[in-house]
Amino acid sequence: MIHLSGVNKYFGNNHVLKDINLHVKPAEKVVVIGPSGSGKSTMIRCINQLEKPDSGEVTVDGINLMKSKAQLKKIRQEAAMVFQQFNLYPHKTVLENLTIAPILVQGKNRDEAEQSGLDFLARVGLKDKASAYPSQLSGGQQQRVAIARALNMHPKIMLFDEPTSALDPEMIKEVLDVMVGLAHSGITMVCVTHEMGFAREVADHVIFMADGQILETGTPSAFFDNPQNERAQQFLSKIL
């Protein structure tokens, strides 16, 4: 479903992604962890080309994005992203946040987009907030709306870029519960997070990154209980 091969990315002289190879099969859940500045977010942002790799191949759903730029719009509809800072559209109501892209980008009619939008709001437990504005919601509620907004594109892939890092502790659980539910729905998921409990519960593979490299890949139990890489051991000893 997602193939990153030999991906390199520089910010100026800073080599932030070093020869990254990542392969995600359909319906697989991959959780990416690692210290800040390790390139996790940059890597996940290469999948929908919010960052353009300087070299390497990015193939999503069979389309090589480094070669066919025209297909980017299609891939961005198939791979929806949830951001750390929610990035809801503040001038739109919750429901409009969910429907604007389906209507304008995917050409759905309004009724259809609103109906499925309300269904997804119900799924994240916020149907009663449909006509509220984002600023009237708590952080946790905003992030749940952001997830519903992503889902309303009917994507094949969900990309989460530290979805709970900007939340107050008491709101993290409500967002993670939604994500766990989603993980069981059979969608392909790549999630950058510091929530180790979540990684253990839903991940098929855990990927550990540091200094722009993937240093270890494994099942949650193998990775958390018996990490092989020294950096991974250090990292885990600090946070667990």
């Binding site: 929908n48 951001f83 809801l88 559209y89 001038h91 604007i100 892209a101 980008v105 907004r149």
Partner: protein, 223 residues
């Protein structure tokens, strides 16, 4: 007769008798104002977006436009259009010169207001829109620009009000605007007092009404 009193009653009487002239001038001023305002807002949006455009050449265009028109006097720009362009066979009626001259000049300030407004919107908004498959222009139009209102409106309002007053530059090229009529009428009879007072009050009323209207828009933008 109290000829030494600049505001002597008979001078006001003369002005009242010449009111057609002043009404003509006011009409011209309003026409130039409306035309130049529309032009400056269009230029402001185009060059304002150019100022944040991903392409460096386009961004440079914004800088050249803004720096040129902000840093040379409006009077010279208008006189240039009036006196120099006819040499290359571009001859325009003064009303159009007024609209273009004042509009292009104010457009540079509008562009800065628009650019500032766009830059005040968090980068995540553009990313969110792009991640949903919007192209750059859709993201600008539907997501970014509507959020710039709160920052942009006060700055644009100031420029709109300056624009009203700046239309008086037309007096320099016999533009037939309010300032020109006041100037030429009083130049022939020396009744400067009532002429300039009336012109000044007229500009004040236009600007005051305009700023009240913009205040209303700002309140609406906050809701």
């Amino acid at each position: 007769m109290d000829v030494n009193n600049p505001f002597a009653l008979y001078k006001w009487q003369a002005l009242f008798d010449a009111r057609e002239l002043f009404i003509d001038g006011l009409t011209t001023t309003l026409e130039v104002t409306v035309g130049a305002l529309v032009l400056s807002i269009l230029l402001g949006i185009v060059f304002g977006i150019a100022g944040v455009f991903p392409n460096r050449v386009i961004r440079a265009l914004n800088r050249v436009y803004v720096e040129f028109f902000q840093n040379t006097p409006l009077v010279i720009q208008v006189i240039f259009i009036y006196n120099a362009l006819p040499h290359i066979h571009i001859v325009m009626p003064v009303l159009l010169i007024g609209i273009i001259g004042v509009g292009v000049y104010t457009g540079a300030y509008m562009a800065e207001a628009v650019r500032g407004g766009i830059m005040s919107v968090s980068k995540g908004q553009l990313e969110a829109a792009m991640s949903q498959g919007f192209n750059y222009w859709q993201a600008m139009w539907y997501i970014i620009l509507p959020q710039t209102k709160k920052v942009m409106l006060p700055a644009m309002a100031n420029q709109a009000i300056n624009l009203v007053k700046n239309t008086s530059v037309l007096a320099m090229i016999a533009g037939g605007d309010l300032m020109y009529q006041a100037d030429s009428w009083s130049g022939s009879n020396m009744y400067y007092g009532p002429a300039y007072f009336t012109a000044g009050v007229s500009y004040w009323i236009i600007c005051f009404l305009l700023s009240k209207y913009i205040n209303k828009l700002e309140k609406k933008a906050e809701v």
